[in-house]
């Protein structure tokens, strides 16, 4: 049989359900290194994986994570949902503030710091909620950037008609007085799309919800600017991704 005759069977072979005589014929092609069939089977395997991943369903129980780790002889850890974790973090921070006030043993500065941490936690929680909402939207698409370069900022941009989500790693924390500013560029004209900072570990998450249609955007870029932000980029982009 020729490669063209076998092509419709690639997916069934990748799924492990192809029968003879086609299976034997196809295996003979693969055994002799037939480039057409090897490439076709690779493509079919990718498709098959996508079919498997499309079977979404409910969350597994929280105990399952512990069971998986325990069987492998590893230490079990609680599987916190993000929302729960942030709620717990907020409660802990509030309790900390309450204890500080009640005992009157800490300084006003410590209280202010705790409040600041709580505010920061709430901002991060809001940012994560926006990110999750965007990821759950059917129209959301995804672009990867920075793959293959020696030590670049790298990550992914998720976007839909209403929002853009940037997730990056290898992005150094900005120096004091500086922040990263995201830009959406349409027809060569940049528009400010919000300020953000990366963590000490070099990771960053930024969600931007413009007032108009995201899909008119050609490019998303990030520059390092003064902490207050600027109206137009003043430095070379550290990230520039075509959508």
């Amino acid at each position: 049989m020729t490669c063209d005759e076998l092509r419709p069977d690639y997916v069934l072979y990748a799924m492990g359900v192809l029968e003879d005589p086609e299976k034997t014929e196809l295996r003979a092609h693969l055994d002799r290194g037939c480039e057409t069939c090897v490439a076709g089977i690779r493509e079919a395997r990718e498709f098959s994986s996508s079919v498997g991943a499309s079977a979404d369903g409910p969350e597994p129980s929280r105990q399952l994570r512990n069971r998986v780790l325990a069987v492998a002889g590893t230490v079990s850890q609680p599987n916190w949902h993000w929302r729960t974790a942030w709620q717990a973090a907020a409660v802990v921070a509030l309790l900390a503030i309450g204890v500080i006030v009640y005992q009157n043993q800490e300084t006003t500065a410590a209280i202010a710091e705790a409040r600041q941490q709580l505010k920061q936690s709430n901002l991060e929680a809001a940012s994560l909620r926006s990110a999750l909402a965007l990821l759950q939207t059917p129209e959301t698409r995804e672009v990867t950037f920075g793959q293959g370069a020696p030590a670049p900022p790298r990550g992914r941009i998720f976007f839909n008609p209403a929002s853009i989500l940037l997730i990056a790693s290898n992005l150094p924390a900005p120096p004091a007085g500086k922040a990263y500013e995201m830009w959406i560029i349409r027809g060569g004209r940049p528009t400010p799309a919000g300020l953000f900072a990366s963590t000490a570990q070099g990771t960053a998450l930024h969600v931007y919800t413009p007032t108009d249609f995201v899909l008119a955007t050609d490019t998303v870029a990030v520059t390092l600017e003064i902490a207050a932000g600027v109206d137009a980029p003043t430095s070379t982009p550290v990230i520039a991704v075509q959508l």
């Binding site: 092509r7 419709p8 690639y10 997916v11 069934l12 990748a14 799924m15 492990g16 359900v17 192809l18 029968e19 299976k23 076709g40 690779r42 493509e43 079919a44 395997r45 990718e46 498709f47 098959s48 994986s49 996508s50 498997g52 991943a53 499309s54 079977a55 979404d56 369903g57 409910p58 597994p60 129980s61 399952l64 994570r65 998986v68 780790l69 069987v71 492998a72 002889g73 590893t74 599987n79 974790a85 942030w86 973090a89 991060e124 994560l128 990821l135 959301t140 995804e142 790298r154 992914r156 998720f158 997730i167 990056a168 790693s169 963590t199 000490a200 570990q201 990771t203 960053a204 998450l205």
Partner: protein, 192 residues
């Protein structure tokens, strides 16, 4: 918390694979956090019972943990491999439960780690998976059912023909047309 979440979202599988091969317990936790829900969703879709699905998820991760040493950490795609292992565990269970013969299927071969090296694209990408799901949903019911019986129940075309009480030639024709339609829908990416 945020740095941990971002680290999980932004790190590639290569680093995770290296740490799994070093028997780093935290790597297994990360693997579960990254793919556990996807694996559970697939198995539950196949076996239709939560308790059984959780048992099979546990078995899947144990199998991967014990066999990850043979995986090419530089070029391998652990997510697709994990799904292949999960699917095979579920098909084994379905065959056992339904007293179906093992048949001459290539299930064990289909989870060989070497088959998951050098994939050209990431088949588990958010938008790729969604497009495939949409394309599946657009298929006429008999064609979709035939594809789903092949993937989600591991049935050969002969078994599908028996299940659907259709001639084998009809089933083959349905599946060929289904794959062609999906190829058109997805703009390539489906050999047909």
């Amino acid at each position: 918390m945020l740095p941990l979440i971002l680290a999980i979202l932004t790190k590639g599988d290569g680093d995770l694979l290296v740490r799994l091969q070093r028997r780093d317990p935290q790597a297994l936790a990360e693997l579960y956090d990254r793919y556990g829900r996807m694996v559970f969703g697939l198995i539950l879709r196949m076996v239709q019972d939560r308790g059984t699905a959780e048992d099979l998820v546990q078995e899947t991760f144990l199998r991967v943990w014990n066999r990850v040493g043979g995986f090419d950490a530089e070029h391998g795609a652990v997510g697709p491999w994990l799904l292949a292992v999960a699917r095979n565990r579920a098909i084994d269970y379905l065959r056992y439960r339904g007293r179906r013969p093992e048949a001459a299927l290539e299930l064990n071969e289909s989870e060989n780690p070497a088959l998951f090296a050098d994939l050209k694209s990431d088949p588990l990408r958010f938008d790729t998976v969604r497009q495939v799901k949409t394309a599946l949903e657009k298929l006429p019911a008999p064609q979709r059912e035939a594809i789903e019986l092949a993937y989600f129940e591991g049935m050969s075309q002969t078994e599908i023909a028996e299940r659907l009480r259709q001639p084998l030639g009809t089933v083959k024709s349905w599946m060929r047309r289904a794959l062609l339609q999906m190829r058109e829908e997805l703009g390539g990416g489906v050999p047909a």
